[in-house]
Symmetry: C3
Subunit: 362 residues, 3 copies
C-alpha cells in the first residue's frame, strides 16, 4: 500500500499524488590532513511535491528540497507521451549513469559514487526524449541552465544521451549501458570535486577551471535472486583544464556487490535503466516481520590528476548494511575508508567515515 494514496478524477483522466521524502543523516569521521573532523546531523533530504496527470497523455511532477533550510527545486517538468516516446520539458534528470537515474532512496549506499558529484550528473532545464522496450531504453536531451537564472546571462548548454540494453533469464536480470555528454557552460566555470563517503564530509579531491568538457560512461549491472552487482566507469576530458592549455582527462567509477540476507530481489528496471523499489516480504509492522536486510560492498575510484591538474586520486572502500522496514522506510549504516594520492607536490590523505540514515518517502 502506497503511503500517499493516488487521487483520481471521476473521468479517470487526471490523477494526483502528494510526494515527498525525509532523510535523517548522522555522520562522524575525519581525515589525516585536517580537512574535516565532523560529528553531526542533517536532513539530507526534506522533499515536498506533487506528481499528477493533467490528462491521459500529460504527466507533471514538481518537488522541492528544504534540507538545510534552503530551497532547491528538483524535478519540475511536464511529460508528454506520444506513441512509444516520452517527451519531458522542464527541469529533470540528465540521462547519464545507472546510479544517477536510480532514486537515492533505492541506491545501495547512502551516497552515489564519487564520480557522480565530480562529473556533475545532475538535473537540467530543457527537453529530453525517451523510448524503450522490454530489453532496452534510450534517452537523449538538451539542457540550458537550472532553476537559478541570473540577470544578463547567456546560459551555456549540455547535451546528453544514454542507451541501455538487457534481458531476463530464469531469475537473473542484467543490463549494460553507455552514455555520453557534452557541456559548454559559456561564462560559467565547471569544477570537479567529491566528498568522502557521506554528505556531511568535505571535499578531499577538487579541481576546477574550465567551461567545457566531454564525458563518456559505461555501466553494467545484474540482479540474480538475492545477489546483485553493478559497475560503472566514466572518462571526462576537461578542455584546457591542464597546464599550458592542455585538456585534463579525468576518470572515475565503482564496482559493487550485494546480497539480501532475507532473500528478496533487488529489482532492475531495464527500460528505465534504474534500480527499483524492492518488495519487502515481511514488513516490520504490528505482525512483527523482520523487514528486509541487505549488505553491499563497494570499491569506488576517482582520478582528478592529469596533465598538470592536481585534483587528486581517490579510492574508497565502503560497506553498507540496509534495513528496509517497509517498502518506504529504510535505515542505512555506511562505513568507508578513503585514500587520496597524487595531490599537488605528491601530498596524500586518508579518511574514515561512518554514517547512519533513516529515511521515509511517500
Amino acid at each position: 500500500s502506497d503511503p500517499a494514496p493516488t487521487l483520481k478524477s471521476a473521468d479517470g483522466k487526471s490523477e494526483f499524488n502528494v510526494r515527498g521524502r525525509v532523510f535523517v543523516d548522522w555522520s562522524a569521521g575525519s581525515d589525516d590532513q585536517g580537512t574535516f573532523d565532523i560529528s553531526g546531523t542533517k536532513l539530507r533530504a526534506a522533499w515536498f511535491g506533487v506528481e499528477g496527470k493533467a490528462t491521459d497523455n500529460i504527466k507533471y511532477k514538481f518537488e522541492a528540497d528544504f534540507g538545510g533550510n534552503n530551497v532547491s527545486v528538483k524535478d519540475a517538468y511536464l511529460q508528454f507521451k506520444v506513441q512509444n516516446w516520452a517527451y519531458t520539458i522542464g527541469q529533470s534528470k540528465m540521462p547519464n549513469s545507472l546510479e544517477w537515474n536510480t532514486a537515492i532512496s533505492q541506491t545501495s549506499l547512502m551516497e552515489r559514487g564519487a564520480f557522480k558529484s565530480a562529473f556533475g550528473f545532475g538535473r537540467g532545464m530543457g527537453i529530453k526524449a525517451g523510448t524503450g522496450g522490454d530489453t532496452w531504453g534510450f534517452t537523449a536531451g538538451i539542457f540550458q541552465g537550472t532553476n537559478t537564472f541570473s540577470s544578463n546571462t547567456e546560459e551555456g548548454w549540455t547535451a546528453a544521451a544514454r542507451v541501455n540494453y538487457g534481458g531476463k533469464l530464469d531469475n537473473t536480470t542484467w543490463l549494460v549501458g553507455m552514455s555520453g555528454r557534452l557541456r559548454d557552460m559559456n561564462d560559467r566555470t565547471l569544477s570537479y570535486k567529491a566528498k568522502a563517503v557521506t554528505n556531511l564530509t568535505s571535499n578531499l579531491v577538487s579541481t576546477g577551471g574550465t567551461n567545457k568538457d566531454k564525458l563518456i560512461a559505461a555501466e553494467a549491472a545484474f540482479s540474480h535472486g538475492a545477489f546483485f552487482g553493478a559497475a560503472e566507469y566514466a572518462f571526462l576530458s576537461a578542455t584546457d583544464a591542464g597546464t599550458l592549455g592542455r585538456n585534463a582527462n579525468f576518470s572515475g567509477g565503482y564496482i559493487e556487490f550485494g546480497y539480501i540476507l532475507t532473500g528478496e530481489n533487488r529489482p532492475l528496471d531495464i527500460k528505465k535503466g534504474a534500480w527499483g523499489r524492492p518488495k519487502v516480504a515481511n514488513p516490520f509492522d504490528r505482525k512483527g516481520g523482520l523487514g528486509m536486510w541487505q549488505i553491499t560492498a563497494r570499491y569506488d575510484t576517482l582520478d582528478l590528476t592529469n596533465n598538470g591538474a592536481f585534483g587528486g586520486q581517490q579510492t574508497s572502500y565502503i560497506v553498507n548494511l540496509s534495513w528496509y522496514m517497509t517498502r518506504y522506510v529504510r535505515a542505512l549504516l555506511d562505513y568507508g575508508h578513503t585514500e587520496v594520492s597524487d595531490l599537488a607536490l605528491g601530498a596524500e590523505n586518508a579518511s574514515d567515515v561512518v554514517g547512519l540514515r533513516l529515511n521515509v518517502d511517500w
Copy 2:
C-alpha cells in the same frame, strides 16, 4: 476534470485542495545599449499550496513560490463570507487592474503589462472587502507590508479600491472598471521600473526615490465569440519624485486584441473582474484533439519621464501564440519589440526579445 480533485469532509462543510503550478520559461534577446544579452531558462513559477474551507463560510488559501530557489509566499489569507460580502484577511492581491486580478495562467501574454511592475500592483497584508452582482463587482482594502517584516519598523500603508461594471448580450461579454490607490511607505522607498517583454530580461526603464504616491486606473474589456480585447491605462503621481521637490507624473497601459483560432471563447468574469480559464473543446489527449489555439497582439506603453525624473518612455509591440493543450496545460510563444526614449540626456534604446513558456497548474 480538475487535475487535483477536491476532498470533502463527511459533513460537506470543509473542503480541501492541493494547489500549485509550474511555469518553465525560455527566453532570448538583447537591447542596443547592452543592458542585457540573454539566453536562458527559468522556473518563472514553481508554486505549491493549499486551498480549503474550514467551514461553510470560511475559506483559506496558502501558496508559496519556489522559483529561482527562493521562497516567496503569495496568497496567505482567510476569507469570510457574510451575506453578499467576502472579507479577506492576510496576504492577498490588492484591488487594482483587470490584468493583475487575472491569474497569470490566464493572461493573454507571458507577462502582464509593463505598468503592472512599474506601478507595483501586488499583494499586501491587510484586509479587503468585496461584493458584487451579475453586472458589477467592488473591492476595497487597506494593507500594511508584505510577508517580510523587519525588526523595529513602522510599516507604511496602502489603500486601494476597484469597481467594475459590465454585461452580456448575445455572445458578447463586456466590462469597464476604475480603480484607485494611495501608498505611504513611511521609511521605505518606492521605485518604478519594468522589464522588457519576458521575465528574464532586465529593466530598460527605471526611476525611484519617493515614499508616497497616488494612482488612478481605468480598464475596459470585451469577449465576443472567439474575439477578445482589453485596454487599461493608469496615471500615477509620485510625491516629490521630480527635481526641486515637484511630483513626478507617470502613466502607462496597454491595448490588445486576440482571436481564438479554434473558436472557443475567452471567458470574462464580470463579478470578479478577471479573465477566466477557457473551456478547451478538443483537448490534446489520447483522442488526438488539437487543443485550443489563440493569438494576441498588444501595444504596451509606459512613461516614467516627467518633471526631472528621467525613468524613460517605453513602448512595446508584442505578439503571442498560445496553445492550450488542456484547461490546465498551456504553451506560449511571445515576441516583442521594445523602444525606449526620453532617458536622461535624451538617450534612447531598443530591444527584441522572444520567449517560450510551458505551464501547468493544478
Copy 3:
C-alpha cells in the same frame, strides 16, 4: 470535521494527511529606551507539510515554515510504536515545558512565555522515547544539532527528559510535571534573550557567551469546567557566563488564569502533557453560532541578571481575548505591559505592545 480529510489506503495500514497553518499577525508598540517602535504585519507562521503512517506502527511527519519568506523545517521525523513506547527519530520537539509541548495554535496567548525563547526550548535532531498511561507521561531524548549542519563541524549535544503526572475528578483535570536538560554546544555559543509580548518586537533582555548549561523546570496546570490555569518555572545555570568564570544562574516562568466565556472546556492531555484543541459548541458558520470566546491573564517573568551577567530582569503583564470561530480558525488579541530592570549600570526599560492574530490550521 477536520478541514484536511485523512486519506487511507485500501488495507487501512497507511494513512496520509496534508498539514499546515497560516498565522497572520499585526502588532504595534514601543519601549522607553528606543529599542523598537513598531507597527506592522507578519506571517508568524506559514507552514506546509504532511503527516502519515507508513504502516500500522510507523508514523512520519514533515512540516516546514515559510514565514518571512525564509525556510525553516520544523517537525521532520519518523516515529515507531513498540508496545507502550514511541520512539521518534529525526527533528522533533525536545521534551521540556507544558507550553512548549502545546501546539502554538492552542496556547492561551499569541506567544509562549518569555522563558521559552530565553532558555531555548526548541526542536532538535536526535532520538527521543516516550511512554505513558492515563495518569502520567514520560519522554526523554538526546539531540545533536538541527537542520543546519555546516561543514567541518563537531556538533554539540542536548539531553532532555520530562515527566508529568495528573488526574481527573468530576470536571477537573490537573497535571504536574518536572523536566531537566543538559546542553553542551561544543564550538557554538548559547545566548539568552526574549522579545516583549509579540513576535514583531525586539529583545529587551539579552545576554550570552557560554556553550554549556543546565536547566530544571517545574509545571502545574488545571482545567475545571470553563476555568483553567497554569504555572511553569525554570532555573538555568549557564556555565562560565558570569564574570570571573562564575556560572550565571537565570530563571523564569509564568502563571496564568483563564475563563471560557461561552462555557466550553480547555482540554488538558495528561499523557501527552499538553493543552489540546477545544471543541467549539457553536461554530461561527452559516448557522450563525457565536464561536468560542476565551479570556486569559498572565504574569510572566524572566531574570537574566546574575553574577556579573546583566541580561536584565523582565516582567510582563499580558491579557488575551481569543475567539475560536471553529476548532481550526481563531482570532487573538493580546495586550501586554513589560517592565525591565537590572540591566547593566542599573538601567531600566518598559514597553506597551498590542497584537492581533488570525490563524487557521489544517
